[in-house]
Symmetry: D2
Subunit: 282 residues, 4 copies
Amino acid sequence: MRTFRLVIACPDGVGIVAKVSNFLASHNGWITEASHHSDDQSGWFFMRHEIRADSLPFGLEAFREAFAPIAEEFSMEWRITDTAQKKRVVLMASRESHCLADLLHRWHSDELDCDISCVISNHDDLRSMVEWHGIPFYHVPVDPKNKEPAFAEVSRLVKHHAAEVVVLARYMQILPPDLCSEYAGQVINIHHSFLPSFVGAKPYHQASMRGVKLIGATCHYVTEELDAGPIIEQDVVRVSHSDSIEDMVRFGRDVEKMVLARGLRYHLEDRVLVHGNKTVVF
Amino acid sequence: MRTFRLVIACPDGVGIVAKVSNFLASHNGWITEASHHSDDQSGWFFMRHEIRADSLPFGLEAFREAFAPIAEEFSMEWRITDTAQKKRVVLMASRESHCLADLLHRWHSDELDCDISCVISNHDDLRSMVEWHGIPFYHVPVDPKNKEPAFAEVSRLVKHHAAEVVVLARYMQILPPDLCSEYAGQVINIHHSFLPSFVGAKPYHQASMRGVKLIGATCHYVTEELDAGPIIEQDVVRVSHSDSIEDMVRFGRDVEKMVLARGLRYHLEDRVLVHGNKTVVF
Amino acid sequence: MRTFRLVIACPDGVGIVAKVSNFLASHNGWITEASHHSDDQSGWFFMRHEIRADSLPFGLEAFREAFAPIAEEFSMEWRITDTAQKKRVVLMASRESHCLADLLHRWHSDELDCDISCVISNHDDLRSMVEWHGIPFYHVPVDPKNKEPAFAEVSRLVKHHAAEVVVLARYMQILPPDLCSEYAGQVINIHHSFLPSFVGAKPYHQASMRGVKLIGATCHYVTEELDAGPIIEQDVVRVSHSDSIEDMVRFGRDVEKMVLARGLRYHLEDRVLVHGNKTVVF
Amino acid sequence: MRTFRLVIACPDGVGIVAKVSNFLASHNGWITEASHHSDDQSGWFFMRHEIRADSLPFGLEAFREAFAPIAEEFSMEWRITDTAQKKRVVLMASRESHCLADLLHRWHSDELDCDISCVISNHDDLRSMVEWHGIPFYHVPVDPKNKEPAFAEVSRLVKHHAAEVVVLARYMQILPPDLCSEYAGQVINIHHSFLPSFVGAKPYHQASMRGVKLIGATCHYVTEELDAGPIIEQDVVRVSHSDSIEDMVRFGRDVEKMVLARGLRYHLEDRVLVHGNKTVVF
């Protein structure tokens, strides 16, 4: 069923819900899902509606025009999207295949509602797997002594494919700051620890050293500061003294791919609203 | 902060949210929490608002009067409650203390927002614990050959204390059908299995016999059919071959008390809407 | 690291561990993992050792011969396996790809230590995916009016490939009793409910009807009675009123594939000891 | 059933299990539970046996004498305990009652097998609750400008009661280094975060600031470095944007008390072996 998704964030106040729901009702909009959140600490209000497209008398552009005065009145940050327009996603990976294979399978079995424009990797290992899915694969090696040319090429490819979302599916390279800021809120990473614990390299080794009893993974938006961006989703799995670092890595793979898939899905469904360094996930 | 809680269930349609939020906005109502659910299968719509009492120009009675026409228009089943009026709760227990002690402690430390009118038990074991909390304790023994007098007395006590909620905190007796139907949607039980598995007596023994790898507990409204009422909350805990039935009973106690406390809290906060044999828990 | 796995079940008594560990120590066996379980209810004792192959002076056959007297003395049911001899696995699937794709990827990325001899399916949909992995795919359609020829062919293929393990990765057909008994303890199924709840067809529909708050999956050995065999592994995921049956099916897929992968791994590593209708999983 | 618990840690090697199990078998010891762990990273071996006391021909002292040569041969760190000798526990608390009430109830209902010698608190609030259980309560206020006299008194009380275990049940004061080192491996703390995240004060505020999607609690041995000691047990609970810091504190209480109760139980049952800054928990 085709729906429009109306996503709003604005300073809290009386009458916002009434104004928005009146607007929708006056155009006979059939709301299939509605979520609200008043944030006491920031004094902001967040809202997401899913509306049957066939119940409305107009398309996206006309909706935007009609709604603009309300948005202005309440100083809203807002967007409306149409499920008929799939988001274009670029996946980036390195050598480890578990996250990439998981996302490709979900996409291939119609679970992930998006277009995967291409896969970019700094290694050529996963080419055959990607191409079997009928998706272009670009091998862009990263020279550790001079990473700039590689990231220029990555940037060119992302632009060329008009990507709306970039997913770092265990890409294992740190994106340069300009790319981070150009695509703020659009680059999704999976970090293989329960952040903020074990930032940076080899988190399972760090976890083993500290002797934790649960390990985890964190899906977050990439910002200039490493592993410090707004968290979308996290999960953990129990480990014990009998689990070696190799066992942790193996358990971790399952958590990583599940957390990344959930986080990406929330993003694709316009369920994630970033405010400061935190997220509302409806 | 004192709030009013407006809880609505009605056949789904366009304009319900608009009408309700307009009503609230027109009276300057400050919504602190709002939840909606459209149920595709039943075609019903469910809604809960929490509104700051001090933002409204009227009290509960005037609210009811003003809202009645809207309720009628949409054939709503609805209620409005005031957090300033604590619900009167009667707890029933037997010999096992874990659920009772847990609820009493939560109440005593101001975590459970209700009045506990009294505790009724078919055994006298827990009297001292209850009385230390300053709560009346009634010992109503149940004669296995003639249970009627006991349940008549239970019924009298529940009426006498004008209970709005009855909690079977491991009471271990089956309530008679007339009591179940008189207090439909008001009697909350904790069953020590993950329903619908292991209905009836000795569920941990049943679980051990079947060799399950997780055991659970279920908080549900009591209906005439044993362990078959609408489920409010459930949870599980992992067990293994090395856990004896005694271990399961011990692990189970922790799940039981957590699940019961969560379920009761949802009920006290008017978060549970029963529809048919299912619940919406906002 | 190549290891031998010594797996023992016998009536409990004093001196078993001493005898076995003496035997191992006297041959200089380096134990890398040891697990014990005394079952009070049945009076049986279970034991599993993993021993470095290069620490022992003999191979599997000589080990068997040398150990036989001890096994006889304590009336042991026992086996010893060599990690250098990968188990031959036949996968069976239908149209749904998630479990099959997950197992194939784990195998392809060296996470599952086995040989996958072939995939048998009653539909041809997944052929390309299987063949990309370099694994033979057999399409054996099942005629609903006369299933016998299909199962004769399945039986022939399983024999032809000398399968030691058959995995029903959402095969959706009930195996005939003779196949079940011929491969007792060797056929692993994933059922898409938290057994013993919701046996048989459409468990997510059953779960939705009952209004449960968690759904699950169960990995078990297939026996003649439907969905009633010894349970190897189970897990659950939380659902709410807002989740449709389609959502449950989607969440369920993730639980199913995780539970099946774990269950199969335990089996391949000789960690599962069946006793009566229960399992010990070391 | 009375048992002896034999707990061993030593450099790994061939023949340890054989020697120990021979020793036990030669004295007709009936092993009810046995656990082993070889740690690859450290090269150490860990072992725990539970043996029926009535199956052995001698008591604790004679056992110690008889076993000493084996212990010496393998350079074992070891201990043997008798379940008939309950450990003496001192509980320390502040104003928050949830952990203390939980431990007291478990003890009162015979779930925690120990003697609770007394409760020490820097506030007098929980006196009545403690004394209802028949346990001495000491109010030892801590002067923020001069904490020394308070800790001298705490130290005196712990010695006076010959405590073997000190439990900081949300005591909220940092113990002085000399007390930490005098009772190394005997002081158990519950920290209200998923360590190593959010060390120190107000972890739920820190968690809210970082926008994590799970919060947790950690039970660990106290060492001189704050919140950095060996971890015994951890657990987490899911939170969302809709949960205020107060909600987190409330959810956290349940995790804290469960994690502390499990950690303490493991310690009381001699299941925890500390090695470096990590634990083996059998």
